[in-house]
Each structure stands twice: as C-alpha cells, then as structure tokens.
C-alpha cells in the first residue's frame, strides 16, 4: 500500500511550550487513522503542523514522499491535504454556497466545481436547503457539515478532521461518523482526531494514542479498543 502521509520525529513549539515531542505517524492510502488523546495532548497541534499553520522545529512531514513541513499552509493545501479545523471555522458572513466555492479556490475548472458542489449537497441535503443562508447563522451541526463539505470541495487526497463530533447532539454525532465511513468507502484517506475515542476506534482502521505531546500507543483500532489502558483512560471503563 502507498504511504500518503508520514511524520518523522516531529517537534513543535509554541514559544517555550514544547507541544509535540517527537511524533512518528503514518497514514496509508485508503485508511482511516485516528489520533486520540486527552485535552491538551497535542492532537490539534499535530494537524496544524501537517497543514503548515505552524512549523516544526525538528523532524519532517512527508506527503507522498516529499517533505512539506517548510511550506506555507496555502501551498500544502495545493498538494492535496484538506483540513477540517477544530471549531469548524466557517466564514460567518459568506453564504453556504460561497463557503463551498471558496473551498474550491484552487480549482479553475467550473464544471468540476459544480460537480463537487452537487456531491456535497448529495452528501448533506441540509446544506442544499440553506444554500443562500450566511454561514454564521447555521446551527452547530450544519456548520460542521459545511466545514466538511468545504474541505471536500478541494477534493483532497487526505482529509484531516479535528473533532468533527465536538458539541453535537447524539443523532448528529452518528450522522458525522456515518459520513466519515461513507467518504472512506468512496476512497478518501482520512486522519481523524477525536475525543470520542469509542466511536473513532469503531470507524478507524488504525489508531494512535497521544499523551502530552508523545505517542504512547499505536496499532489496529480493534486492538486499541481492547487495550486495558485505553479502556481505562479513554473509553470510560
């Protein structure tokens, strides 16, 4: 299988704070890989390091074999990394449709843009109904759909998702996880950060456990779900 993404000994700092202390991580084509861990473990920082919003002090991020950690964010996106950021970060004063259009900023082929928009509306019919509504007026669940849809408009080779189920009602959490499985069925490679470890390990193929900036455990998702330590710390039992 083809290795899509690889982190080699990545160290990231916020000023003096040593947030990532030598992360090693791999994602293969067609996989769902999940990264779980407590608050402040460094999950968001890992994703932000991959998409170039913060640059590592040491180590490498390889995308399809090429180092990308020195590139600015907008060039990393161009390589094919889509990021659904923590807290959704919808553009509040753009309409739903404009939010999607801007997701496809790099695509100059109008047909492809329309095609992808249709796919997103097919995936989330709710968004089609709210097409002309301002992003900021959507409900939390709808904003999450829009954030995912917006990243899909780039047709990325790998999708980074940062706590897509955060703050959503149980029905919507189920919907989001179904969507993740569905996207993967259609061939998307996904790196999923979650606090909902149970659901994440159910949907993922492999997983990593992150603790205060270090990977403490990794393996097939099923095995992690059975692991006593993981059960105690993240699965509530």
């Amino acid at each position: 299988m083809k290795k899509v993404l690889e982190l080699k000994n990545v160290h990231t700092y916020y000023g003096q704070i040593h947030a990532l202390k030598g992360i090693n991580l791999e994602v293969y084509e067609g996989e769902i890989v999940t990264l779980i861990g407590a608050n402040g473990a460094g999950k968001t920082t890992t994703l932000r390091t991959i998409s170039g919003m913060i640059h590592p002090k040491e180590g490498e991020v390889l995308f399809e074999g090429a180092a990308v950690h020195h590139l600015p964010a907008h060039l990393i996106v161009k390589r094919g990394i889509g990021h659904v950021p923590e807290g959704r970060r919808i553009f509040p004063r753009l309409t739903v449709e404009e939010n999607l259009e801007i997701g496809a900023f790099l695509e100059n082929d109008r047909h492809k843009v329309e095609e992808r928009k249709a796919e997103v509306f097919d995936l989330f019919p709710r968004l089609a109904e709210r097409r002309k509504q301002l992003g900021g007026t959507l409900s939390g669940g709808e904003q999450q759909m829009l954030a995912i849809g917006r990243a899909l408009m780039q047709d990325p080779r790998i999708l980074l998702m940062d706590e897509p189920s955060m703050g959503l009602a149980p029905v919507l959490v189920d919907l989001i996880f179904e969507t993740i499985a569905e996207l993967n069925n259609r061939g998307k490679t996904i790196l999923l950060v979650e606090q909902n470890a149970l659901k994440a390990l159910q949907v993922a193929h492999r997983g990593y456990v992150l603790q205060t900036g270090e990977i403490t455990l990794s393996g097939p998702a099923k095995e992690l779900a059975e692991n006593e330590e993981v059960k105690r710390a993240y699965l509530g039992g």
Partner: protein
C-alpha cells in the same frame, strides 16, 4: 428666507451628492484595507493624490495630441487609477508587509509607518514635479464641453427633495430610535419601520411646503458633474460585482473574516492583501482624477483634506463595511454642502463655507466618541 432655503436645497444636495461620490470612492480604499488587515492606511490620501497628479499630467501631456476631451478623460482616469494602484501595491509591499512578517503586534507601529509613508509620498511627488516642471502645482485644463451647463426639469428637483428629505428623516429616525433605546430597554427598530416613519415625515414635509415646492425648482448641472456621477456609479457598481460575484471577491471577504482559515483553502493571504490594495488604490486614483476635474488645482498636498474626510465617511459607515463606506461618503458629502451653504444664511454671513471642513471633523469626533462602530455599520451588517 425659507423659500430661498427650499429653492436652494436640490442644487445643494446635488452638489453634495457629487462630492459624496468622490468621498465614497476614497472611503472604500480605507475600508477595504481595514477589512483585510485591521490597519488604517493613512497613506491612502497620498495614493489618491498620486492619482490626481498623474491624471493632471495625462491631461496636460496629451491635450495637444488627442482632441476629444472625453477620450482624454478616459485615458486620465485609466492612468490615474493605475498609477495610484501601483503606488498602493508598493506601499503595502515595502512598508506594511515587512512589519507584518516581523510579527509586530503593537498597533501603533503600522499607524506611525503609515504617517511616515504619507510624508514620503508627498515629498517624492513634490520632488518629481519639481525636477520635471520646476513647479509642483498642476492645473487640469478646462474644456468647453465639460463646463457646459444643462437645465434639469422641475420634477427632478421635486424628486431630489423628496428623496433627500427622506434620507434625512431616516437618519433622524435612526438616531431617535437609538436615543429611545438609551432610556427604554428594547430591541432596535427594523430598517423597514424606520423607512416608513421617514416616508411619512417626508410626505408631511412635502404637504406643508406644497406651494413652495411647486414653485420653480429648476436646477442646472455641469457636464463634468454628470461625468463624475456616471464614472462613480460605474466604479461602485463594478466593485460591488467584483466583491460579490467573483472568486477574488469571495477570497477577499474570506481573508477579512478569517485569514488563517482562508489559507487552509489554498488562498495566499499576501496575494489577497496585495489585490485589495490594488483595488482600493485604483478607486482612490480614479477619485483623484474626478476631484481634479471638479476643482482643477492639484498638488502633492492635495490629498490631506479629502483623505481625512473620506476616512470620516468610512468611520461613519462603520470601518470595514463596504456598503457603509459608500453610504457614509454620500451622507458626508451632502451634510458638508448643506452645512456650508446654510451656515452662511443662518449666521447672516458671519460663518461661511469655510466652516464645512470643521463640520466634517466634528462629525468624526462625535462618531468616535459615541458610536465607534459607525452609524450604518450594524444596520446593513455586511463587513467586507
């Protein structure tokens, strides 16, 4: 007395509208840059000046070559706009971007830089003009076709009065509602309610002064004023289209709302900032040429007063708000003309039109004191 006031009203308002369009176009440059960078580009008045001077040079240089004044004007607008846009891009590139990259968080630093850039540009243009012509005051040539006046029929006067009185009452109703809310805790009135109240008051006004209003209200307008209105409307329409219907426009708004997330969409914020300076600069340059057309004399220091007034207009409309800047420009232009004209009457000539500048600055101070978010900012609610 009252009759004179009412008879003058349409022409005064029309003059105000024309001036207001010029302010509006300059104000857009302030507001758009503020939208993407949260920086008040005080050098924008000098970008306007560069356009005005470049336009004058175009007229003077090509007057003997091109006979058609309209074609000349078109060229001057194009060159004035382009020169201003290039200056704007260079200012961003050479002054603001290095500061941004250094991660300066102190808001005072870019502000002082902007003022420094202003002085630099004034003296640079003075130097160039001085070396070139040995004089830095330049005059727009006058053309008979531009100076020609046309009579407008009475009904335009009536409509102008009705519309502007309506706008005036609208603003009053808005303030009234705002004042009421200080005493009573209730939701702000809807825009439609305000419009209806204003329309009612306007009808009462028209009824009361019926016999005066239907007296002779003939207005005259100069060709160059018509040109200013036409060009401004075209520019505002074009900007509206650009901001709302094009990919660049959506990207500009996205960067204004959340630059970091915009970069996750593959947008290079630096490119968008540069484009924003280009657009704002072009509008400012075109405004400069129109200003020259109206007032004839331009020089390296010509930008200061219109610049600070346009800044007032941008603040009036809520800085960062595109529609607000356009409306703020028009409102300020009209207020200034009204104040300038009627102050003379009201004080029996003791205070003349020269007080209109003070009026504008008083407005600026009052807004900053009482409503820093602008008057229309909230109502129209659309930031860049």
């Amino acid at each position: 007395m009252l009759e004179i006031l009412i008879q003058l009203l349409p022409s005064v308002l029309l003059e105000g509208l024309i001036l207001g369009f010029v302010y509006a176009m300059i104000a857009l440059g302030y507001t758009m840059v503020y939208g993407v960078l949260e920086l008040i580009n005080f050098a924008h008045s000098e970008i306007f000046m560069a356009g005005a001077v470049a336009g004058a040079e175009t007229f003077i240089l090509l007057k003997g070559v091109i006979a058609n004044p309209f074609l000349l004007l078109a060229l001057a607008l194009l060159i004035g706009g382009t020169v201003a846009a290039v200056v704007a891009i260079l200012v961003e590139r050479l002054a603001y971007r290095p500061l941004r990259k250094r991660g300066t968080t102190n808001r005072l630093v870019p502000l002082i830089t902007a003022i420094g850039v202003s002085f630099f540009l004034q003296d640079l243009v003075r130097l160039i003009e001085g070396l070139w012509h040995n004089a830095f005051y330049r005059r727009y040539p006058s053309f008979a076709v531009f100076e020609a006046t046309y009579n407008l029929p009475n009904w335009i006067g009536v409509i102008t009065i009705a519309l502007t009185v309506w706008v005036g009452f609208w603003v009053l109703a808005y303030f009234g509602d705002w004042l009421l809310r200080r005493f009573k805790n209730r939701a702000p009135a809807k825009g439609r309610t305000l419009s209806l109240v204003a329309a009612g008051l306007t009808l009462v006004f028209l009824f009361l002064y019926r016999h005066v209003v239907f007296a002779d209200l003939g207005m005259t307008i100069q060709m160059k004023s018509i040109l200013v209105i036409v060009v401004s409307l075209a520019m505002l329409y074009g900007l509206n289209w650009l901001v709302h219907k094009t990919k660049l426009g959506i990207a500009i708004r996205a960067v204004a709302q959340d630059a970091q997330t915009a970069s996750l969409m593959g947008i290079d914020p630096d490119v968008i900032v540069s484009r924003t300076f280009l657009i704002g600069g072009f509008l400012g340059g075109v405004a400069g040429v129109l200003f020259g057309l109206l007032y004839t004399l331009v020089h390296p220091y010509v930008g200061f007063i219109p610049g600070i007034k346009a800044f007032t207009a941008a603040v009036l409309g809520g800085i960062g708000n595109i529609t607000g800047a356009a409306v703020g420009g028009l409102v300020l232009g009209m207020l200034e003309m009204l104040g300038g004209t009627y102050l003379t009457f009201l004080t029996n000539g003791a205070m003349g039109t020269e007080y209109k500048d003070i009026l504008a600055f008083m407005i600026l101070i009052f807004i900053l004191l009482f409503r820093p978010q602008g008057i229309i900012g909230q109502q129209l609610g659309e930031k860049v």
